[in-house]
Amino acid sequence: MSGFGKPLKIALGLVVIAGLIVVPMNFNRYGLFILSQWAVMTIAAMGLNLTLGYAGQVSLAQGAFVGIGAYAAAIMTTHGWPLPAAIVVAIVLSFAVGWVLGYPALRVQHHYLAFVTLAFSTLAFLVFRNESWLTGGIYGISNIPRPNFFGIATNKPLPFYYVCLGSLAIVSAAVWWLIRSPWGRAFMALRENPLRAQSLGIDTRRYTLMAFAIGSALGGVAGALYAPLTQYIDPVPFNLSLSLDLLMMVIVGGAGFYFGPFLGAMIAVLLPEWLRFTEGYYLMLYAVAVMLLLIWSPTGILGIVDRYLAERRTKAASALRAVAKSRLETAQ
C-alpha cells in the first residue's frame, strides 16, 4: 500500500478507527450485532490469512477452530469462569490442535492439504454435535454471560461491541508485529519457495506447524468472542460452510495483504445485510458479486489496489526517466 504519503496513511487510519468508535453509538441493536460479528470474523480471517496468505498453507478448518474457541468460552463462562481466562484456554487449545493439524501439511500440500483440513472440519462438527455431555449436543449451550470489565457490565450491545473492537485492535497490532518479525519473513519464505527457504537454513518443519498453530489460535480467539456475542451456541454455525466462508473472506479481501481480512469480512458479513432489501435474492446476488469480483481480480480487492499502485509507480518512474533523459540531451 505504499504510494500514499506516510502521514496521509496514518491520518486515514485514525479517521477509520474514530469512525468505528463514534459512528455505531446510535446504531440499533441489530446494527451493533452485525458490526460486532464483523470484528469477530475479521479476527478469524486474520488467523487464516496468516496460515494461507503469508505461509501458503491451505486450510479449510478455520471454522472448526472458531467452534473450539466458542465451546471453550461457553462451557467455562457458564461455569463461572471469567471471559479472559476462557480466551486464554481457547488460545491454548486451538494452538495445540492447530499444531497437530499442521503435521499433515508436512507430508502433503495444496489440494490434498485442503481436503485433510476439510475432513478435520467435518469431524470437529460431529464431535460438537454428538458429545452432548460436554457441548449440549444439538440443543447447544444457552445463557452464555457477557463479561464485566473493570466493574463495567457489557451486557448491552454497545459495550460488548467495544469489547469486540478492542480485541480486534489487540489482535491487529499483534499480527502487524508478527508479519514484520523474522517469523513473518520465514512464513513468506515458506510460501514463496519452501525448498529455497530450507536451504537458507529456515526450519520449514517448525514454521509450517507454527503457521497452522498461530492461525488456528486466532480462530479460537474469534470463537471465544462469538459465544458471548450470540449468548447461545449450537453446532450448526461451526459446520464446514463457516470454514468455506472464512476462506472466501481471505481470498476476496486479498490473501497475503494485511488489510485483506478486514475487507473480506466486511463483504461477507455486511454485503448480505445491505442486500437484504432484495429479500429472497440477497444471497444469490452476494454469490454473483463474489464470482464477478474474482473474475475481475483473482487476487481479491486489495489485488486491484495493488495493481493500480504498481501501474502508477511504473508510470511515475518512466516519467522521471523521460525527464532525466531529456535533461541529459539538453546538457549535451
Partner: protein, 291 residues
C-alpha cells in the same frame, strides 16, 4: 449374513452414483485444474430442471432429455465459458473459491425459484423387489447399478478405445505437446465439461428418487464425491470409480456397524489415513514436485 449382503448391494448402488460424480470431478481436475466445489449442487440442479419441465407439461422421458440438454448448456458450456475460462490462468485457489460462491448461488436460486421444501421425484426404475440368491434386492438398486455401469463402461471405452478419447487424454496429460501434434486442446477441454454435465445429470436422475429433490441435498453428495475422488486417486478415472464404490459400501457398513452418530466420520477418517499414507490415492499416480 443376509444383512451384510443387503448392505453391500445398497452400498454398491450408492457408491456407483458417487463414482459417476467423482469421475466428473476428476475429469475437470485433469483437463483444467478445476476443483469444483459446486459439484454436489451440479447433481442437485438437473433434477429440478427435469421437474420444471414436467410442471410445464412435458412427459417424463422428454423432461429427462430437456434436463440433460439444459444441464449441458448451463453446467457444461456456461460454467466453462463464464467462470472457468476467465479464471483458469490465475491458479487453482481463486477458481476453487469462485465455485464455492457458485454453489451458494445455485442453492439459493433453486430455493427461490423452485421450493425450499423437498419434492418427490419419479424413478426411472419401477419399485419392487426381485430375489437374488435368496435375498430380496430392490429393483431400484439394480437399476442404479446397471445405468451407472453402462455409463462408466461407455466413458472408459470412449477414453481408451477411440481416437477422440486418446486426444482428450493427450490434452489432459500434456497440453503443450498435444497442441504441437495437432490436438484441438480447447475443444477437448470443453468436451470434458460437457461429459461432466452429462454425468451429474445422470447421477441426479438416479439419486433424486431415493433422497428427494431438495436445494440443500448437494452438500452431502458433493463431499462424498470429493472423498471418493481423493481416496481412489485424484488423477485417475478408474481410481474415482473404485473410490466411489468403496465410499458407498463403507458408508452403508458404517451406518449399521458403527454408531449412527459417528457414521459420517468413518469415510473422513479413511480419507485422512489415505492422504497421509498414500497421497496419490489407492490407484493414482504420484504427482511430481517441481522446484
Amino acid at each position: 449374513m443376509s444383512n451384510l449382503f443387503d448392505l453391500l448391494v445398497a452400498g454398491l448402488a450408492t457408491g456407483a452414483i458417487y463414482a459417476l460424480v467423482a469421475v466428473g470431478f476428476t475429469l475437470l481436475w485433469q483437463t483444467s485444474q478445476t476443483i469444483n466445489f459446486a459439484q454436489g449442487e451440479f447433481v442437485m440442479l438437473p433434477a429440478f430442471l427435469m421437474l420444471a419441465a414436467m410442471h410445464a407439461g412435458a412427459p417424463f422421458w422428454l423432461a429427462i432429455i430437456l434436463g440433460m440438454l439444459l444441464s449441458m448448456i448451463l453446467l457444461g458450456l456456461g460454467f466453462k465459458l463464464l467462470l472457468v475460462d476467465p479464471m483458469m490462468r490465475h491458479g487453482v485457489l481463486p477458481l476453487a473459491i469462485a465455485t464455492m460462491a457458485l454453489a451458494i448461488g445455485i442453492k439459493e436460486a433453486v430455493k427461490q425459484f423452485f421450493s425450499a421444501e423437498a419434492s418427490p421425484f419419479p424413478s426411472i426404475v419401477p419399485t419392487g423387489d426381485v430375489s437374488i440368491l435368496g435375498h430380496a434386492v430392490s429393483l431400484q438398486s439394480i437399476g442404479v447399478l446397471v445405468v451407472a455401469i453402462l455409463a462408466v463402461v461407455g466413458l472408459t471405452t470412449l477414453l481408451n478405445r477411440t481416437s477422440l478419447g486418446h486426444q482428450m487424454q493427450a490434452a489432459a496429460q500434456n497440453p503443450t505437446v498435444a497442441r504441437i501434434i495437432g490436438v484441438p486442446v480447447e475443444r477437448m477441454i470443453l468436451l470434458t465439461f460437457l461429459i461432466n454435465a452429462v454425468l451429474v445429470a445422470l447421477a441426479s436422475l438416479l439419486i433424486t428418487p431415493i433422497y428427494l429433490a431438495k436445494f440443500s441435498s448437494g452438500e452431502v453428495l458433493g463431499q462424498a464425491a470429493f472423498i471418493a475422488a481423493i481416496v481412489g486417486g485424484f488423477n485417475q478415472v478408474r481410481g474415482a470409480i473404485a473410490g466411489g464404490l468403496l465410499i458407498g459400501v463403507l458408508d452403508n457398513l458404517a451406518a449399521s456397524y458403527v454408531s449412527t452418530q459417528y457414521r459420517a466420520a468413518v469415510p473422513l477418517i479413511f480419507l485422512i489415513v489415505v492422504i497421509l499414507f498414500r497421497p496419490q490415492g489407492l490407484l493414482g499416480r504420484a504427482e511430481e514436485r517441481t522446484v
